[in-house]
């Protein structure tokens, strides 16, 4: 699942390597190479922009899953202050696939809850790649209710391949945990803003996604099923790039697709070369969006907020009559 290098980024790596070598050479021989480097760096920005402008849906999936992207933990550091983590569902155990706690956004207290898949293998395993057990969703709900109690808004970050499928998860009611979150989020009397920062995988993503504003980062994806799962079920081939591309295209999972389908409210732009190319700039865009949206939502009375949130989800769907 970890993506060390992405094939389509090879020209970017190559140019980055050239620039590094030139800088190294200049350092060793005390040469001034500013004039040589400037055009190369300009070219690098152009190359990143070009490549990222024409990503295929499957390439977007790769970008969304990249372990170099900013993760929930990064946004907590970059967009918020005064974070204090809260653990456990008070029923069974702590689930590190979802993290959350109090933090400040622009000085004001908020409750931040997000899938956290971990940057390296050790963290991936500890956090189960962001695939939560029922405990994770129940912890998330506990924190949301806590936020509601103190009239504090909820900010969620979505970044998961899906909810965990396993014996313990089934025994402890994975379905019930997800369903309960959908139900309670649709009536939580405090503003909720959800942002898909990487992969928004199915019910496990939606369990943090019933919100007044739903955002997607430019290169994130949001889908009812993984492209591999879809291709395997429909075309008996979940592995070949052709079939995965076919599924990624057919499922309409990119941010512009979801905006067109009226499932999300806003796309947060990423810097040239994707969020992983520049964490700070990405986080600044996210922060700006959250502050602005929260300012709008804070003006609404709780009952009106809930009514509008419900109406928004009740409108989703397309059929003939």
């Amino acid at each position: 699942m970890a993506t060390a290098t992405m094939e389509f980024e090879k020209p970017i790596y190559e140019l980055e390597r050239q620039i590094d070598e030139l800088k190294k050479l200049a350092g060793e021989q005390s040469l001034n190479v500013t004039d040589e480097i400037a055009p190369l760096e300009k070219k690098l920005v152009e190359l990143r922009t070009d490549i990222y402008r024409s990503l295929t849906p499957l390439q977007r999936v790769q970008v969304a899953r990249s372990n170099k992207r900013p993760l929930t933990d990064d946004y907590l550091r970059l967009c918020f202050t005064d974070f204090i983590e809260l653990h456990g569902d008070r029923a069974f155990r702590e689930d590190a696939a979802i993290m959350g706690g109090w933090a400040r956004l622009d000085g004001e207290t908020v409750m931040v809850i997000g899938h956290e898949r971990g940057r390296d293998t050790k963290e991936n395993l500890r956090r189960n790649f962001g695939m939560a057990h029922p405990e994770g969703y129940r912890k998330a709900l506990r924190l949301m209710k806590l936020a509601e109690k103190f009239h504090v808004p909820v900010i969620t970050f979505i970044d998961t391949p899906g909810a965990w499928a396993g014996l313990g998860a089934e025994e402890r009611g994975q379905s019930e945990a997800i369903a309960r979150n959908l139900f309670e989020m649709s009536r939580l009397e405090t503003p909720i803003i959800a942002t898909v920062i990487g992969e928004g995988g199915s019910g496990g993503a939606l369990a943090l996604g019933v919100a007044d504003r739903v955002n997607m980062l430019e290169n994130s994806v949001y889908s009812v099923i993984t492209v591999e799962g879809c291709a395997a079920i429909l075309w008996k081939d979940g592995k070949s790039p052709e079939m995965r591309e076919k599924a990624a295209t057919a499922l309409r999972i990119t941010a512009p697709d979801l905006l067109e389908l009226k499932v999300i409210d806003e796309i947060i732009p990423e810097p040239a070369g994707g969020a992983h190319a520049d964490h700070a700039t990405t986080a600044a865009s996210v922060q700006e969006t959250l502050v602005r949206q929260l300012d709008e939502l804070r003006r609404l009375k709780p009952d009106k907020l809930v009514r509008r949130r419900r109406e928004k989800f009740l409108r989703i769907g397309q059929y003939a009559e």
Binding site: G209, F313, L314
Partner: protein, 287 residues
Amino acid sequence: MAWFRKEKKPRQPRRERLEIPADVWEKCEACGHTDIREKFVRNFNVCPNCDYHRRIRASDYCGILLDDGTMEELELDIRSIDPLSFPEYPARLKKATANAGEGDALLAAAGMMESLPVNLGVMDFAFMGGSMGSVVGEKIGRLGQRSLERKHPLIVICASGGARMQEGVLSLMQMAKVSAVLAQLAERRIPYIAVLTNPTTGGVSASYAMLGDAILAEPGAVIGFAGPRVIKQTLGQDLPDGFQTAEFLLDHGMVDQVVHRRDLKHTLSQLLRHMSGKPSATGWTAS
């Protein structure tokens, strides 16, 4: 001792058996028991030998659950479209409609249940595996709306492999949509009961199936978030016996009762009467 007498009973001559036309016989998928079809049908399509609950159509459930002559089918004109231009979806819809009818994967109805007015949604596995797309979500949404307006309880019989892939994220969002409707019912104290039949998995299981004021399940039904095949793949080992059956969920505290199909109507009515402050259908009974 029944088994002893049975042993001694002479076998029916083969010749005589063959005189009954072949299509009158039914064979149980679970135990292989063969009996005349009429016996299966009279037993609610439950095997008279092993109690295996055979899959039945949405209209059959309406017949079992609603009082004679009270059923009114609703929302007949909603049809699935192909919002994503998904490969082969229009052809699949056409085939499903030819095989299973115009109602998509959910039959919406209103009627009386032991003289109590109810709104009833029944999923139809015969239509694309009972998959939930925009039409299923919208039909349950409208049934919920009707329940809100008339203060009538809502019952949904679930039978589904999950969300309808061909409608992508729109089908995922139906989970949120139906859950929002159920939250409205809950706030107005209108009872909602979910009945889980074989199978109830995926997006249906992770939304309205698990949100009932009471949750009932048919014996032996497979119920779970991930299908057994997916879990087997993830684990790389066989699953324990009875894993994800209705009985397993009862043991793990996820459903209120496992109910034989023959008792379903009365159990539902009994629950609804308790929850809506109505007297018992049969009056006071001495223990």
